[in-house]
């Protein structure tokens, strides 16, 4: 009985397959979405910039035609009942190879970026053209022969709050005019611990036997609390060489603001207010500095 049920279920599933996998299996997929598992039915996340790329089959289908367009068409909601309504919209983008020597247009390498902002089903169609013809009706070319009409299911991704879980960062920083820093930190949700080493370059490369050349390298540990803009924290900096009238362990207040990233790597503006000697007139013993911090690959904010 159980076996018969299983066979029946398998048969039902086989019958249902065409409804959920509408791509004709005989035709190759000419387009793919980078980072999404290549399958007959692609799935993409809502409001995430995707890169649509040509596959090898897609390149072959172009047959020397220089222009390749992708037509993205919204196919209405999950229910699909309104599939033929006027809300169906086609979005056309050009896929092209980058011009030689222009690194600023690397996104165009036979690919294009597209963000799906609605849940539901979309279709992708590869089109080809000999020359620019837009806005004539045939300006976006003809469907590339032999290519399947590809379907995409777009759904919302899980909502993840800021700074959940564990994250780590490591960085290089420049503190004008002469100091450089290397460091690393680990955050558990919003609370983090950091360790950094700072070198004063002229002292570091100067005469180490010169008694006035002290503390070329210092080490600091910090406790940080992460907020939306960046972090606030307290630090203890260790000065190996003794300086007259100054402490070897000096306390400070640190603040970092996250700036827009450069080539995907976060940049930070870091402020440091340090108390060199705890006295009653402590404000005379404060020193303030700013630094630019550049996170290295592998860091996760």
């Amino acid at each position: 009985m159980t076996r018969a049920r299983a066979v029946l279920s398998a048969a039902c599933l086989a019958l249902m397959m065409p409804a959920v996998v509408p791509v004709a299996s005989a035709q190759p997929a000419c387009l793919t979405i980078k980072g999404v598992t290549p399958a007959n039915e692609l799935a993409a996340l809502l409001d995430v910039a995707n890169t649509i790329e040509l596959t090898e089959d897609g390149r072959k289908a172009l047959e020397q035609m220089p222009l390749a367009y992708v037509q993205v068409e919204y196919q209405a909601g999950a229910g699909g009942s309104a599939a033929a309504s006027a809300s169906n919209q086609a979005y056309v983008r050009l896929l092209e190879d980058p011009p030689a020597g222009n690194s600023s247009r690397q996104n165009d390498r036979a690919a294009t970026r597209f963000t799906f902002t609605r849940e539901g089903r979309y279709t992708l169609q590869l089109r080809r053209a000999k020359e620019f013809g837009w806005p004539n009706t045939d300006g976006k070319g003809e469907p590339a022969p032999g290519c399947a009409l590809q379907h995409i299911k777009v759904k919302a991704g899980p909502r993840v709050g800021d700074f959940s879980g564990t994250s780590g960062q490591w960085w290089l920083a420049y503190r004008p005019a002469t100091r450089v820093e290397a460091g690393g930190s680990i955050f558990f949700k919003r609370v983090g611990f950091a360790l950094s080493v700072e070198a004063n370059v002229p002292r570091f490369i100067g005469d180490r036997d010169d008694p006035s050349n002290f503390n070329p390298v210092t080490v600091a540990t910090e406790v940080r609390w992460r907020g939306s803009r960046g972090y606030l924290g307290g630090s203890i900096r260790y000065y190996p060489d003794e300086e007259e009238g100054l402490e070897q362990y000096r306390f400070g207040f640190v603040a970092g603001e996250e700036l827009p990233s450069f080539k995907g790597l976060p940049i930070w503006l870091v402020a440091d207010l340090r108390l060199d000697d705890p006295k009653v007139t402590f404000w005379r013993e404060l020193s303030f500095s700013l630094a630019f911090r550049f996170d290295l690959p592998g860091s996760r904010p």
Binding site: D47, Y74, Q89, N102, T115, A156, S228
Partner: protein
């Protein structure tokens, strides 16, 4: 500690210098008031008397244009760029007035003809009030008379480190663009047309081209190195000028005049290109100023449109807006509801015509509400309203601006990391808000960049590219004079221009009136590279298509095009 005190003293000196300079050099450049001692009227201008009477003089300048003699001067780009004493004298003469009447140019072997153009300079002080209110009132009266005939009104708000001086770089390039527009209008008017179309016969009169340059004190210090520290002061001033009402008032007066001059509805698509239209362009802090002046009315128009959307559709549209406003990270409610056509459609009032911001230097968070609106569905008759174009090569807004913002927002909190980035990133450079990308077409005949120097000359030599551009645009004009392809009028869909193409990077409605586009550096290389043929071509073509769509919208009312 001594080193620290020295640094402190130096910083204090810089701050004092900046403050003093900001206080001392506050004077207009073109809109002098001889009765106001603070207006710094140059000696060579003498005492001018105004009668308030406008005169029409068919011979003067070869341009039949209303003007007030004491407020205006007859000039031309060759006269303004002439070298030597004669050129200096002419530039002095032009610098004393706020209305330039540019002479008509006959067709020659080296130049296409045009029917002349007018350039009005309106100047505002740091509090956003007109430097010379009487003069501004007279300028509006002259413009009103000029708009008795169909015209193209192009407003430009300059940015940081610029002003309204007669040979200011932005103003010089703006003149070149106005001349190109005048040539394009003349060329369009001379296109052969069938007389039996029942609309018009050949030839038609070219539309008048009227430029309005909004001047303000974009720079306070010219000393290299130090002038960068005026960033915070000038940004704040730009927003203050925009907020305080003077500029809004001026723009609304222009809008009212343009709407009045259009008269009754347009009859055919081609005629849309023969009615009066207004385009406002703001660059850098000028974009910030313009947005501050118009943001309230833009958001109000969106709110009104949502409320006016019919029945249940409106409820869904409102829900989409409200749920969108609550989110701070990707979530289901951000999306247009499944079966997006049920969401609207809405139609936002576009009587104010097109507003274009180029490399605007302000924070992206100011666009948050309009970004929600860009997720709605719009009627097919919706006309483009607001376009932002930001170069990916703009290191000033992309690199320097966030650092400036990190300091200037020191006392403000952000409720999420995403919102923080929208507070420090440039208005057009915040990826989540991008709806389009403007990319150079891989064509082989894209003009190479040029750089020239000389008094009153546009550094990028924009004028030189005008004739080839107009010649190539004629093909477009021929297409538009008939019945255009519907795809061409879905302006938020895919659009190809002569040198560039505008591609949607997300599935916004193809009739979306709010376009936020990043621009390929091959089209706009950096912050100031806005007067180049690739970009000017895009602007002209986009504006022409918008005008055409407005004509069709008027013609068909609320009927769908598709």
């Amino acid at each position: 500690m001594t080193e620290c005190r020295c640094k402190g003293a130096m910083l204090a000196m810089v701050v004092a210098g900046v403050t003093a300079s900001a206080c001392i050099s506050h004077a207009p450049r073109r809109t002098f008031d001889s009765l106001d001692p603070g207006s710094n009227l140059p000696e060579y201008c003498g005492t001018r008397q105004t009668t308030g009477d406008t005169t029409k003089n068919a011979e003067d300048c070869g341009v039949r244009t209303p003007h007030i003699a004491s407020d205006s001067v007859c000039t031309s780009i060759p006269q303004l760029t002439a070298v030597g004493a004669a050129g200096d004298l002419h530039r002095q003469r032009v610098s004393c007035v706020s209305h330039e009447r540019h002479e008509a140019v006959e067709k020659s072997a080296t130049s296409l003809p045009h029917a002349g153009f007018d350039l009005h300079v309106l100047e505002f002080d740091d509090e956003g009030q007109p430097w010379n209110r009487d003069l501004q009132d007279r300028a509006f009266e002259v413009i009103r008379q000029q708009l008795s005939e169909p015209a193209v009104v192009l407003g430009f708000v300059h940015g940081w480190k610029n002003d309204a001086s007669v040979c200011n770089g932005n103003l010089s390039c703006f003149r070149d663009v106005l001349e190109i527009l005048a040539k394009a209008e003349t060329a369009f008017s001379m296109l052969p047309r069938p007389a039996d179309a029942g609309v018009t016969t050949t030839p038609i009169a070219p539309r008048r081209v009227v430029g309005v340059y909004f001047g303000w004190r974009g720079g306070t210090i010219k000393t290299r190195g130090i002038k960068q520290v005026t960033f915070w002061g000038r940004k704040h001033t730009a927003h203050t000028i925009g907020d305080n009402g003077g500029v809004t008032n001026a723009i609304e007066r222009l809008r009212a005049m343009v709407i009045n001059s259009r008269g009754s509805g347009v009859k055919t698509p081609g005629q849309a290109l023969r009615t009066t239209s207004l385009v406002m362009v703001g660059h850098s802090f000028g974009g910030a100023l313009l947005y501050s002046a118009l943001a309230t009315s833009l958001n109000a128009a969106v709110g009104e449109a949502i409320q006016k959307a019919p029945g249940a559709e409106a409820t869904r549209a409102r829900a989409a807006m409200e749920t969108g406003a609550r989110r701070s990270a990707p979530e289901k409610s951000l999306a247009l509801p499944a079966g997006g056509g049920d969401t609207g459609p809405v139609e936002v009032d576009s009587s104010g015509d097109l507003v274009v911001l180029v490399n605007p230097a302000m924070e992206a968070s100011r666009f948050a509400n309009l970004h929600r609106a860009s997720k709605l569905q719009f009627t097919s008759t919706q006309v483009p309203i607001f376009v932002t174009l930001a170069s990916e090569g703009d290191s000033a807004v992309g690199g320097f601006f966030p650092i400036g913002q990190a300091f200037s927002t020191i006392a403000r909190s952000a409720r999420s990391r995403e919102i923080w980035f929208s507070m420090v990133k440039g208005f057009g450079l915040y990826e989540p808000y991008h709806t389009h990308r403007l990319v150079l077409k891989p064509a082989t005949d894209v003009p190479e960049r040029e750089e020239v120097s000389g008094e009153c000359r546009c550094k990028s030599n924009m004028g030189k590219f005008g004739d080839p551009l107009v010649t190539r645009l004629l093909d477009l004009y021929k297409t538009l004079d008939g019945t255009p392809d519907e795809e061409m009028l879905r302006l938020a869909g895919y659009q190809e221009m002569l040198y560039s193409r505008l591609e949607p990077v997300r599935d916004v409605d193809p009739n979306n009136p709010f376009i936020m586009a990043s621009v390929d550096p091959a089209v706009v290389a950096d912050h100031n590279d806005i007067f180049n043929p690739r970009f000017v071509d895009f602007l002209i073509e986009f504006v022409v298509r918008s005008e055409l769509k407005r004509g069709l919208s008027n013609q068909y009312g609320q009927r769908r095009l598709r």
